[in-house]
Symmetry: C2
Subunit: 472 residues, 2 copies
C-alpha cells in the first residue's frame, strides 16, 4: 500500500466510520452471532499474496461488524461506558503513525513530556490534591497505564516492597533475612471489598499474596465504612495477618458506591501502618470520551515505584558516552520505572486532543448531562413502585433495580426474565448483578450518544415487558 493507496483507503475508512456513528442506532446493540461464526467465514491460513484494500474493507462490514457489540450505541446501558470520540480517534491515528517503543525520554521526548503535562491537567480538572501533580511537593505525578488492572498490580508491587523495606530489620544475616521475609510475605494480605473491581484480587494472585474481600452492607449502600474496615483490620491482626494494601473506590463496579474515604483514613490511622502510598487511578477510557486504553494512575511519590521497578540494562542507557544523559540521569522522568512494560505507546496524544477539543466545560457538560439522564430514569422508576424496586442509585448515571414479587424467588425470576427479554430485543443492552441474593438489573446512561429519548424508550420497554411478566 503506497501513499496514494493509503490516502484512498483512509478517506474511505473515515467515511465508513462517520456513517457507522451516524447510523449506529439502526444496529442491534449486542451482537447476535453464534460462537465460532467467524472461523466459518475466514480462511485458516494467511494469504500468500497481498490482497487489495477494497476486499478487506468489504469484509469489515460483511464479516466483522455483525460480530461487534456496539459500546457507543445509544441503547448501550450495560456495565459502564467505554467511550470514544472523534478527537480521541485522531489521537490514535497520529499515535499509530509515530509508532515507537518509547521506553525512555530520548526515544521521543514528547511522549514522556506530554504525558506528564496532560496528567497534570487532568489532576487539576479532577481537583486532586497537589501531591499528585508532577510539580507538587512530594515527587508525585501521573502515568498512563493500559488498564486499571495493570495500575493495581504496579501499585501493589510498590506497596509490598515499601512495606517489606519498612518492617524488615536491617541487622539480620542473609539466611535469617530470607526466612523473615518469606514468613512475612506469607502473612501479608491485600484488602478490598466484596464490591471492589476484580483487579485487586487478580493483582494479589499475580504477586502471590493473600487476598481478603471485606463484606459491605446494604444499609451502608454497599460502601466501605470506618467500623467495617476497623473490624476487618482487627480480625486480620487477630489471625496473625498483616494488611498492607487496600483498594478504596469512588464508584464501585456493581453499584457505583462511594467508599467512605474519611472513615477509611480514620480507621487506617488508628491501625497505625507505615505512611500509606495512596495511589489514585481513574480510567479516562470509561467516561471521559477517550478510547480504550487510557488508565490514568497518579502516584504520591514516584520513588516508591522506582525503588520497586527499576531495571538497569546497558542497552537502554542512552547516554552513549556513559556520561550524564537526560534519560537515566534523574533529570527526566523514566516512565518505564512506573509500570510493568518497558516500551510505551504515545497515549497522551488522544487525551490532549480530547481535553483541548471539548475543554473542561465541554467534559463537565457531558458528565452532567448523562448523570441527569440517570436521575430521570431513577425518578421514572420510583413513579412505578407497583412494578420496580430500586436497590441502589442513581449514582454516577447508574441505577440498580429489580422487578417486585411476592417472594424473593418470584422477584428474582421476574427480574431475570426481564433482563433476558429486553436484551433479546436488540434495542438496549443492560447488565446484571446479584446483591445479597437479589438478582438485579444495572441501567447505565453514560454513553455519549444516549439522549433523553433513548432513556425514555428504554424505560418504556422495561415497563411494558415487566408488566407482561407480572401479568403472566
Amino acid at each position: 500500500m503506497d501513499s496514494e493507496g493509503f490516502r484512498e483507503a483512509a478517506v474511505s475508512s473515515i467515511d465508513e466510520i462517520i456513517s457507522y456513528f451516524d447510523n449506529i442506532s439502526t444496529r442491534s446493540v449486542v451482537s447476535t452471532v453464534e460462537p465460532g461464526y467467524l472461523r466459518k467465514l475466514l480462511p485458516s491460513t494467511a494469504p500468500e499474496d497481498g490482497e487489495p484494500w477494497a476486499d478487506i474493507q468489504r469484509d469489515m462490514e460483511a464479516k466483522i461488524l455483525p460480530g461487534i457489540t456496539h459500546w457507543q450505541h445509544p441503547g448501550f446501558h450495560a456495565f459502564f461506558p467505554c467511550a470514544t470520540s472523534y478527537p480521541s480517534i485522531l489521537g490514535e491515528l497520529y499515535s499509530s503513525a509515530l509508532s515507537g517503543a518509547c521506553f525512555n525520554w530520548i526515544c521521543s521526548p514528547a511522549v514522556t513530556e506530554l504525558e506528564t503535562i496532560v496528567l497534570d491537567w487532568l489532576a487539576r480538572m479532577l481537583g486532586l490534591p497537589d501531591c499528585y501533580l508532577s510539580t507538587g511537593p512530594t515527587r508525585g505525578g501521573g502515568v498512563i497505564q493500559g488498564s486499571a488492572s495493570e495500575a493495581v498490580v504496579t501499585a501493589m508491587v510498590a506497596a509490598r516492597d515499601k512495606y517489606l523495606r519498612e518492617t524488615t530489620p536491617t541487622d539480620l544475616s542473609e539466611e535469617a533475612h530470607d526466612d523473615f521475609v518469606a514468613h512475612k510475605r506469607s502473612r501479608m494480605v491485600a484488602l478490598a471489598t466484596t464490591m471492589t473491581h476484580s483487579s485487586t484480587k487478580k493483582a494479589a494472585i499475580i504477586l502471590g499474596v493473600r487476598f481478603q474481600a471485606i463484606p459491605v452492607r446494604a444499609e451502608d449502600n454497599y460502601a466501605l465504612t470506618m467500623p467495617v474496615l476497623a473490624a476487618a483490620l482487627a480480625n486480620c491482626r487477630a489471625r496473625g495477618l498483616e494488611p498492607f494494601f487496600l483498594t478504596a473506590t469512588l464508584g464501585t463496579t456493581d453499584t457505583c458506591a462511594v467508599d467512605d474515604f474519611a472513615g477509611i483514613t480514620a480507621a487506617l490511622e488508628s491501625h497505625n501502618p507505615p505512611t500509606p502510598q495512596a495511589s489514585f487511578d481513574m480510567n479516562m477510557h470509561k467516561w471521559l470520551l477517550t478510547n480504550f486504553d487510557a488508565s490514568c494512575l497518579f502516584v504520591r511519590n514516584r520513588n516508591w515505584f522506582i525503588q520497586a521497578l527499576s531495571i538497569n540494562q546497558a542497552i537502554y542507557s542512552t547516554g552513549n558516552s556513559g556520561s550524564a544523559s537526560p534519560s537515566d540521569g534523574g533529570l527526566v522522568t523514566d516512565y518505564r520505572e512506573w509500570q510493568i512494560p518497558l516500551g510505551r505507546r504515545f497515549r497522551s496524544l488522544k487525551i490532549w486532543f480530547v481535553m483541548r477539543t471539548y475543554g473542561v466545560k465541554g467534559l463537565q457538560a457531558y458528565i452532567r448531562r448523562t448523570t441527569a439522564l440517570g436521575e430521570d430514569f431513577a425518578a421514572w422508576m420510583r413513579a412505578r413502585e407497583d412494578l420496580f424496586e430500586i436497590l441502589t442509585g442513581p449514582s454516577f448515571s447508574l441505577t440498580v433495580f429489580r422487578v417486585k414479587g411476592a417472594t424473593e424467588e418470584e422477584s428474582n425470576a421476574r427480574t431475570k426474565r426481564l433482563c433476558d427479554g429486553v436484551n433479546a430485543s436488540g434495542k438496549i443492552w443492560v447488565s446484571n448483578t446479584v446483591l445479597d441474593g437479589k438478582f438485579a438489573i444495572r441501567m447505565m446512561t453514560g454513553v455519549r450518544a444516549t439522549e433523553k429519548e433513548h432513556v425514555e424508550a428504554a424505560f418504556k420497554l422495561l415497563v411494558d415487558m415487566a408488566g407482561e411478566i407480572v401479568k403472566s
Copy 2:
C-alpha cells in the same frame, strides 16, 4: 467536533501523515530538544472552552514533532525496529472507532474470534509446532498482549502456580500447607541469561521471586548452551534453590543471539522438572509492520493460564439468566483469563489488515530484504578490518562492532566517540552495549524505509568519522 468537522480534520491528518512519511528522511532521526522543552510551550491547565482542530493540528507540527525521535526514519539503526505501516494504521483507526472493553466473548464476539484466527495464521506463518494452534491437540492458542513484559509476567504466574500445584503435598494441614508454600516460594528462582531482555527480571520482581542471570560467553556467541545451563541448574540445586522458569531467546536484546534450544531441552530433561509450560512470545510490533502494541503470546495449554488467572465476578457473567451462555461457559475463549487486564482493545484488526495487505510473501520479502542489508553492512565492515572489529553478527539484521585500538581502553574510548559523533549528526541513530567490558555499537537495518543507499551512507559516515578519530 461533529461528523463534518471530523471528516475535515481526519482527511487533513491523513495528508499530514502521508507527508510525514514521504519526507521523513529530511528530519533529524533523534530529537534534539532539551529536557522540559514542552512545558514551556503548553499551558499548565486544560482550556476551559474547546479549541478548534486547526489550532491543535498546528501544534502537532510546531510543538510535538520536534520532540519526536523518528523510529520509522531510514537512518534509525538503534535498538530494534518498532514498525508501523499503512494497513496497521488503518487497523488502529477502526479499532479506536469500535472502542469497547471487550472482556468476554459477547462484549464483541469478533474481537475474541478474530484474535484466535489471526494468531493461528501467525503460528502457521512462523512454522510453530501444532501445540500452539487453537485447533491443536493440547488446548493451546495465541493471545495478544500489550508488551512482552506483560506476556512474561503472565507466563511466569502460570508457571509458578503450576510448579506449586505439582510439588506441594496435598495431605498437609492448612498451617503446614502455608508454611510449606511460603518456604518453597522463597527458594524458587526464575532464570534468564545476562543477554536476556530485562522483562524476565522485572517479572520476578513483580512476583517477588528470586531471579538469576546465567552468564553467557563470547565463545558461544552469547547464546545459552547445554553445558552452561546444566551447570547453572546444578548450582541452583546445590544452594537449595528450585528453578521453575527459564526465558530462552531467539534473538537476544543486545546481540540477537539465538539460544541453543535443543541443548536447553536436553539440559532441562536431565534436570527432570514437571512438564514444561513452554510459552512462546513474539512482538509483531517489532519487525512485522504492525504498530506498537502487538505482543503475540502462544501457550501450549490454556488451562495452565486459566487455573492461575481466572476471576469470577457476577457482573461479568453475561449469561443473564444464570444458565449456559457462550461466555463464561467454556464454549468460547475468555481471553481475560490469559492476561493481566480485564478489558481488551481490538488489536487483532491491525494484524489482520497487515497480513492480508502484504501477504505471507510480502512479509517474507521485507524480512529478507532488511536481513540482506545487515549482511551487506557486515561485509563492508569486514573489508575495513583496519578500522573495525565485528563482535557479533550479522544476526537478524544486527551487527555489533567496535573501533579497533592498541588497547581495550583506546578501543572503548574511540567507539564511544564514534557513537556520540554519528548520533550527533542527526543523520543516523545507533545504540550501544557493553560486551565483556567492550563498549560496542549496535547497527540494525530492519526499518521498512531503510534502503541500500541509506546503509551505504551510514557506513560511509561511520568510516569517515572513525578514520578521523583514529587519526586524531
